[in-house]
């Protein structure tokens, strides 16, 4: 039947499904320990608290109707207070915009900030959800590498010195996905300074900032300059099902995003936004809850990193487990992680090869491992399976 159907848009030829998503489909139902996912642990989500908030919201009729495009007013007020504390300045409610997960903020910002052919600087390895959106917007993409202190801002400075004029620089400043690293305070100040000097937007994408293990993440890049748009989310600290992300941005950006949100989906869910408002407003409970998530993830991350270092010794270098959901590792012995993957699946473990996050080529010796959904012994077992696959190479 499809042979007689009208054509689709020509630009779709360039779009391909995320390699990670396709891989997840392969591994989800098999007898495999998956380090390939990128999901928070559902067992740690505050199910009863969400149920109580849903019940309370549904006692009145106020949560059934369409809500405002920028988000339910009281949720925006809670977020403004929260972000004011985080940014060290008073964030007005008008500068807080609720999105359908922070991915929607990225998607709408790409339309709001980018003309076709505009230059976007991303980190390499990159958050693929951002890469996909910027590519779909027709941006020209230039990558700046990460090191242990986050984005190599010195490389960005060189680019600017050569006359490159980005419209947007995108960074996952805390506990990078996939790189695991956090941008240092000095680089944050430097990036903010460059943004102001050269007149570009920074999108500071921060879904993981609360998930620190030993010490809180440094002050956001957005605390250093007005042209930094900060994104965050309830998905990793409460639950993805709420589909509540948010953006803190100057008023003209919020108003432009509002116009596009009307066309994209009119508005979010008044019900899930009321649940989010209730839980985010109860800061005493939230602190305790997030502390518990941190402690569990921290122990799992430590176990994974320990097992990897014990098992592979000098044949692998991996990031420290400082926060977030991911550990990034580089084989030093010439192992090709893409080629090793079928053997790993056979041995009963899945991961994402580094190349899936490369902006162009590279990271063939790297892999991303997610530690959130398995307990320490299972993670240890996963590393043994990985060693088996490695030895069989």
């Amino acid at each position: 039947m499809s042979s007689t159907l009208p054509p689709l848009a020509g630009k779709l030829g360039g779009l391909t499904s995320s390699a990670i998503r396709d891989l997840l489909k392969l591994t989800a139902h098999a007898d495999i320990v998956s380090l390939a996912g990128g999901l928070p642990d559902a067992e740690l989500m505050p199910r009863e608290r969400i149920a109580a908030a849903a019940d309370a919201a549904l006692r009145g009729p106020g949560c059934l109707q369409y809500t405002e495009s920028p988000g339910w007013g009281p949720l925006r007020e809670v977020l403004a207070a929260r972000e004011s504390a985080r940014l060290g300045r008073t964030v007005p409610v008008a500068e807080v915009f609720v999105t359908h997960g922070s991915q929607q903020a990225l998607s709408l910002l790409a339309e709001v900030l980018l003309d076709p052919g505009a230059l976007v600087v991303v980190e390499d390895p990159a958050y693929v959800g951002a890469l996909q959106v910027f590519r779909a917007a027709g941006a020209r993409i230039v990558a700046v590498p990460l090191d242990a202190e986050g984005m190599r801002v010195d490389v960005l400075r060189e680019l600017l010195g050569r006359g490159e004029r980005p419209a947007v620089v995108h960074t996952v400043s805390n506990f990078h996905n996939p790189g695991g690293v956090t941008m240092s305070p000095a680089r944050r100040r430097e990036l903010a300074e460059l943004a102001q000097t050269h007149g570009f937007w920074v999108i500071e994408d921060d879904p993981y900032g609360e998930l620190w293990f030993d010490r809180p993440a440094p002050a956001p890049v957005a605390s250093h300059a007005p042209n930094v748009i900060r994104l965050s989310s309830a998905s990793k600290i409460i639950a993805p099902t709420l589909r509540v992300g948010w953006m803190v941005a100057p008023d003209p950006v919020c108003r432009a995003v509002e116009l596009l949100k009307q066309g994209a989906d009119l508005c979010g869910s008044a019900l899930t936004q009321q649940i989010a408002a209730e839980l985010l407003a109860d800061t005493t409970w939230l602190t305790g809850h997030v502390d518990r998530v941190r402690a569990v993830y921290g122990a799992r991350a430590t176990a994974l990193v320990h097992a990897v270092r014990e098992t592979f010794g000098e044949r692998i270098v991996c990031t420290d487990a400082a926060g977030g959901m991911f550990v990034w590792a580089d084989f030093t012995d010439g192992t090709d992680t893409g080629q090793m993957l079928p053997r790993a699946l056979e041995a009963g473990v899945a991961y994402v090869p580094g190349q899936a996050f490369a902006v162009s080529e590279g990271y063939r010796g790297s892999l991303r491992m997610c530690f959130t959904t398995s307990e320490a012994p299972v993670l240890g077992d996963a590393v043994q399976r990985l060693a088996k696959a490695h030895a069989a190479g």
Copy 2:
């Protein structure tokens, strides 16, 4: 501060806020009977049933996590069964795609089906949410008028005869917003035939089809041809807060939409999709519930049309109240509804001037009235206020 901010994308210059939304902001808090809205009545929404479904869903951990981009599997199965009955053929689950309200389906379809400059045919007066999306996609838009039998398919045939080659024809086939009319069975078959002969897509946008008063809407255009993409929604029959819309489309369209949905917002809410699945699957309850909504809306629509005809006589012509949420009326005495609006607001009644729905110019003597959220005596009072504003002109 904003004077020092980097620029936004150039294309945003052409975007303006919806005149209707701006008007709603003006009228929401005043002592005004609003016929200007477009909301279903929250009092008729099954609040307790939604609360029970939320509670049941939240007893297990399965509704907290990210869900699949095309929607939660069991919801897609319920929708496939529902749409199979509606379309008179077996709709496979793979051809059902859940979106964040049916507005998101429109927005993603515009990207999937349209190259820049592609021709889109819309009805005039038009659903402004569709117009906004097609304009943002850079489409060339040609309007075909409505009459009492819906889209003037003969005018479309003429366009095709002159060599116009649309990529997409958009229709609100049932109880049109804003026109109130329903496309006749003969025109549905003719439109489907033209779509197959000339190889264009039809988007059949059907949020109101269940809200018939005297007799069910005719078989969908989508029952007559495979290249008709059907959109529907739970917003008008259950509640907008679920943000559950859906699309029935051939597999290649669903797969392309899936790729774009990953970039747009990853996925919908597993919680609200489970609530929707529970309520849509209980067909006995749902039939009774929708019957009640129909009866209430039908009585209100009849009251409004009766009052308008009684009060204005031959100075106005308005659509019959056959279903949906809106009555469209044309003044025959040269009244300019845009000019009359300030007087109407002063008299305590709001409506949307016809020009807000015009594809280019026109409908200066028309207005759209929404009857869903006011009881019959209030609607009668609103028409008296309208008469006062009219007399003061």
